[in-house]
Symmetry: C2
Subunit: 183 residues, 2 copies
Amino acid sequence: MQNTDDISKKPLTSAMEDYLEAIFNLGKEKRVVRVKDIAKRLGVKMPTVTSMLKVLSKRELIDYEKYEYLELTEKGIDVGREIHRRHHILRSFLTDILNIDFKKADEEACKMEHAVSASTLDRFIEFMEFVQFCPRVGLDWLKYFDEYRLHGQDPDKCLARMKEFAGGFKVRINTMEEVGEEK
Amino acid sequence: MQNTDDISKKPLTSAMEDYLEAIFNLGKEKRVVRVKDIAKRLGVKMPTVTSMLKVLSKRELIDYEKYEYLELTEKGIDVGREIHRRHHILRSFLTDILNIDFKKADEEACKMEHAVSASTLDRFIEFMEFVQFCPRVGLDWLKYFDEYRLHGQDPDKCLARMKEFAGGFKVRINTMEEVGEEK
DNA sequence: AAACTATGTTTTAGATGCCTAACTATCACC
DNA sequence: GGTGATAGTTAGGCATCTAAAACATAGTTT
């Protein structure tokens, strides 16, 4: 049988997670996953990829024979998908809630995805759902955040905007559909 | 050409930041900072601390002579304070906005503080200020988030609560009448 | 002062993760 | 089938971060 003692218990490193995510994504984008592409995606050299592939193979996260095409195992797919999911959620938070541009958000999400636990990630999801679920307190409210950011917290301006906001809010509550929005 | 003492340009590692933050905090808590205390705080062994102290000393982030008490340099204080600040901000976000309990939030903040850039951190701050700054859309709204989390996104409940919410909101808006101005 | 204890350091070593240089396999094409 | 370009691997090294064991120092107690 397999080496059952420690391998399965040892937690994955951030680097391993990055590789699995990259392989997972490349697998969706291309017919085959190549060492060269992984290297390019992660900004490392090919030998670095090769050595990591050996590790991932030993951990049974990929099927890998040298010079052959590589594939994620089921276990590897699970991890890759999970990291991809984290990345996506955090990036959404950064772009949709904090209004950070996509490129920057993508970079930050890439670092954050290893730092945030599953349970905290769930809270991020719930929070975003919460913000989006109630239309008036959702998207338009966030539009106001944009203005707040750009003009600072001038109390007068805040109050003025609050009033407009309140008017729209009341009407919207009664209809509760179509969120006609654009930035 | 700039190979030798170009230490000032090399970025600090996460580990270095952790040590500086720990030293910064211990300096505020105790009269003197001891190797033993740093080790305990960071969950590492004393030899690990000693070797890191040498690195930090070479980088001119601490004043350190062996067997003597150690102190942060001005540069070290700046970094230590900055990391402490990041930690505090992220933890506040996790506790105040996402409603995560303190202990968990503290752990997560500790990992996130190295992953989030200064500009993104600023957005976190602005967002929290934004949420808190507008009373009705602020604290009470977050109280509703708590309920949303616990009871799920039942549309009926959401609507019911939204109506109450809107009522309160309107009252509050009216009491702010006199200051209302426009840009 | 000698002995004892707590604290700190050195030495050695292991795990990661990255690199360059040099080698080898694969594939497309003539 | 040979050949050259491309892709992939191996070998050897470097930097970082860690710990165990052995050793050194400082401070306290008797």
